[in-house]
């Protein structure tokens, strides 16, 4: 593993630590406004400066790891559950249902995902809980296509035939025998999906449709800072850097994991 990969892993672990220990690490509250100290540039007191309500940006970036983890975990779980359930069943049983489902997945994938997410948020209304659903659903088609491809290859393996011969039911074969064997590629994909989920949440919050104040979401911080860009660029630069570094780290770890994966699966991923 290279230095780059180690750095990326460190960043991700660092985010976990910050999220757990935010109360002890953050120097100030993330929500308490201080109107005497609005939009102050970085100083010794406020290392990353303050935002338009005088809140410490460093503290908000640190507390921001909590909504971040919430978004990653919930949206990836939704995407992987819906997607792989459809993909696995469709790929395992084949037939007409598979043909129809594949068409639907194709149709969804030919949509720019941002439009799906936007439409869902428009239906459900703004808010972080709704954004994770939108991201989860919009990203589900990726897992559906991947798991379908994987199970089509995997169901021809000897051990599957063996358990069929031993009288195992389809449900048992899919979830007890095949799923553990194709979990690797799904986990790799989950890493990439985590990266895009972060970008999604930030983008939707940036459009004003995601997290609502005073949530310290990095995307929302950017949304709030963009009006003060001329006088206080620091308020926009640091949350953006935090998003960038996190997404980059997830993508680098994903790439590293993919390179170590079973070559049998490498072709199916991309």
């Amino acid at each position: 593993m290279s230095l780059v990969t180690y750095t990326a892993i460190t960043v991700i672990l660092g985010i976990l630590v910050l999220a757990v220990l935010a109360d002890y690490i953050a120097p100030y509250s993330y929500s308490e406004p201080d109107l005497w100290k609005r939009l102050e540039p970085p100083s010794r007191e406020h290392i990353l400066g303050t935002d338009h309500l005088g809140r410490d940006i460093l503290s908000r970036v640190i507390y921001g790891t909590r909504p971040l983890l919430y978004v990653i975990i919930v949206s990836v779980v939704i995407a992987i559950t819906i997607g792989s359930l459809i993909g696995l069943l469709s790929g395992y049983f084949g037939g007409k249902a598979d043909l129809l489902l594949s068409r639907i997945i194709d149709a969804l994938m030919s949509f720019p995902a941002v439009l799906i997410a936007l439409a869902i948020v428009a239906v459900l209304g703004p808010g972080l809980e709704k954004v994770v659903i939108a991201i989860g659903v919009a990203e589900a088609s990726v897992f559906a296509r991947l798991s379908r491809g994987l199970i089509i290859v995997e169901k021809e393996q000897l051990y599957v035939l063996a358990s069929k011969a031993a009288g195992a039911g389809s449900f048992r074969i899919i979830f007890r025998h095949i799923l553990p064997n194709i979990a690797g590629p799904l986990i790799v994909q989950a890493t990439f999906t985590a990266a895009s989920a972060i970008l999604w949440e930030a983008a939707l919050s940036f459009l004003g449709l995601g997290a609502q104040p005073p949530t310290p979401s990095w995307g929302l911080m950017l949304y709030e800072a963009k009006d003060y860009m001329r006088t206080a660029p620091h308020a926009m630069i640091f949350p953006g850097l935090a998003i960038f570094a996190t997404v980059l780290s997830f993508n680098i770890v994903g790439e590293a994991l993919r390179d170590r994966m079973d070559p049998r699966f490498r072709k199916i991923m991309r």
């Binding site: 068409r103 194709d106 030919s110 428009a122 950017l222 960038f244």
Partner: protein
């Protein structure tokens, strides 16, 4: 063989088109708040006016009838009028589409030039320091939050240096920043895929033979490796083109650029059903058509790909 492949691909296209029509129809009908309430704003519309409008907009028909009517209208070119401005949606979409098309073509050309050049440098010495730096740069490219990068560019080039307009669409200058933004987040994928495609060709016999004949490494890469990797690169750029046609929503918003993506967002916020509908369906049709063309092109360039897919 060729004809049957084309027929097969086109036969896949039609049901997908219907599914898209149905999904968009469903989604937009699920939006909260009906357009009439939105048109009247805070005022309560008089019942007669409401009924007349419902009839005019076809909102009083049963769900399925509305869908069939809608599909019929799509195919006859009657996409309705914007509830707010009264402008025919087809005209609106086409006007906005030209703006998006300009942006997409310029930024993808830029991204491809940078991406392929980087891949070329990387492939000359695989696993060297240069290759690894380019690898990280490429991942950084698609890890970039696009709106943030857009804001940074606005801050640098219009607020500080006062060189370029921060948004809008007047003259060529206003195209520079948005296309730079989009090119930045797209060159990475192009460079990674090009590198992988080139490396795959790299070790093949005809390349080894060319090298054995004493050709310089540069000529081997340009004349033999790149040429054979073109298919993969063209495919990727084609697919990105489709995605950007509708997916440039955020860039268009940051730069107040009047493209299709921004039109759809505005439509959603204003509950302008015909505009949202028209926009999404239009984008989906464009994306699907581009994908179809890319696929057919691929099979024309590389006969091995003509095997019917699972």
């Amino acid at each position: 063989m060729v004809l049957s492949y084309i027929a097969y691909r086109v036969s896949l296209y039609i049901p997908t088109l219907f599914i898209i029509l149905f999904i968009t129809f469903l989604l937009v009908r699920l939006l909260p708040g009906d357009p009439i309430t939105v048109m009247y704003g805070e005022l309560e519309p008089p019942p007669e006016a409401r009924m007349a409008l419902e009839e005019k907009l076809g909102l009083d028909e049963p769900f399925i009838v509305q869908f069939i009517l809608y599909t019929y209208r799509i195919f006859t070119g009657d996409w309705g009028k914007s509830i707010h401005t009264g402008e025919p949606v087809v005209e609106l979409v086409i006007r906005r589409f030209t703006a998006t098309l300009e942006l997409t073509v310029v930024s993808l050309a830029l991204a491809s030039a940078v991406g392929v050049t980087l891949a070329y440098i990387a492939v000359l010495r695989p696993h060297s320091l240069a290759d690894r730096v380019i690898g990280v740069l490429s991942i950084a490219s698609y890890s970039m939050p696009v709106f943030w990068w857009g804001l940074i560019l606005i801050f640098m080039f219009s607020v500080n240096l006062k060189l370029l307009p921060p948004g809008g669409r007047e003259g060529l200058e206003s195209l520079v920043l948005p296309s730079l933004t989009l090119a930045t987040i797209n060159f990475g994928l192009i460079s990674r895929v090009s590198r992988a495609a080139m490396l795959e060709v790299y070790s093949q016999d005809f390349v080894v033979a060319a090298r054995a004949r004493g050709l310089s490494e540069r000529r081997v890469v340009i004349g033999y490796v790149m040429r054979n990797a073109t298919v993969a690169i063209v495919t990727l750029v084609g697919l990105r083109f489709g995605i950007l046609m509708g997916g440039a929503v955020i860039t268009e918003t940051v730069f107040a650029y009047p493209g299709v993506g921004r039109m759809i967002v505005e439509g959603i916020l204003a509950r302008d059903y015909p505009v949202v509908f028209g926009g999404i369906v239009f984008v989906a049709i464009i994306v699907m058509t581009v994908n179809l063309i890319v696929d057919l092109l691929y099979s024309a360039l590389d006969p091995r790909a003509r095997v019917t897919r699972v």
